[in-house]
Symmetry: C2
Subunit: 150 residues, 2 copies
DNA sequence: ATAATTAAAGATATTTTTATCCTTAATTGT
DNA sequence: ACAATTAAGGATAAAAATATCTTTAATTAT
């Protein structure tokens, strides 16, 4: 649904929030390994998330430094991450790609999508970063061995 | 939500279906203009939709030729277009991008997304190409003049 | 047979996304 | 002051998506 950037951003945010809940800062290597994402690419994404107009993630340079999430930030909805990555359009926009698709000038999918969109928005807006971090669900890709015999 | 390719594919399919319902074949120029998409790119997409393993769209070369949709094809769900464009993963896959995200090994968004996914799938599976084509909703981008005064 | 019209197929170009590398700045401990 | 560790920022590379152009094949009408 989202770009790889946003997928990594969501996973990184949850990962950092978990470590921050036990007052542990994490460095880029730990984050990248913890979410199974490429290290340097993850670093770029963390820059976006720690940008001062966004401030989902905080960071400190130097030894004993690293990334963490402030208590206030962790109470914000995970939707803020999607906003920071500038991908709200993926949910908001017309399914057929038409600009100005609305009640007045709808496309054929406007009405059916309207309610689905509400549901989609609510799964990201109703849950805080903290709540999601509290679940111990995995954030890292796993390989499931193929059970079929050749 | 979908790639531009799939957006154009959906719009082109609906456009052709409308013309076919009045037994009119349309050429690439007419389709591209009718949906506000780049001509040559639209042509490539139509090749995918008319591929023999897909057969959503039919075509005939030469004068008086063009694209059309057979009655049987128009009764298929619009979801078939998303399948033809190989983008069902956009709906089906894990929101955080994790492989093997399921009941047994879920991510934190698995459960909340589960129902939304059902709704999303149903808006594409419950409507046939024909039904959507029958609505006279627009398929072409429109410019809404900016009402704000500078 | 020839010319005109159309889609199919193949080649190329451009833009965006994804990924990596290198240098600089900040912080800490010795 | 110096070395080590960390993030920030800038530059580059590789891959994928988007877009365009050219040639070929099919069909039709003359």
């Amino acid at each position: 649904m989202f770009s790889k950037s946003t997928e990594y951003a969501l996973r990184a945010t949850i990962f950092i929030a978990r470590q921050s809940s036990i007052h542990k800062k994490v460095n880029i290597r730990e984050i990248a390994e913890g979410i199974g994402a490429p290290k340097y690419f993850t670093a770029k994404i963390l820059q976006q998330l720690s940008n001062k107009n966004v401030q989902i993630v905080s960071s400190i340079s130097g030894p004993a430094g690293g990334f963490f999430i402030k208590e206030e930030a962790s109470k914000r909805p995970i939707y803020n991450v999607i906003e920071a990555m500038q991908e709200t359009h993926i949910i908001e926009d017309c399914v057929l790609g038409l600009p100005n698709c609305n009640e007045k000038t709808p496309c054929s999918m406007y009405k059916p999508y309207k309610d689905v969109k509400k549901g989609l928005l609510s799964i990201f807006k109703d849950k805080s970063i903290q709540e999601i971090a509290n679940s111990k669900d995995r954030l890292i890709p796993i390989k499931i061995p193929n059970s079929k015999k050749p």
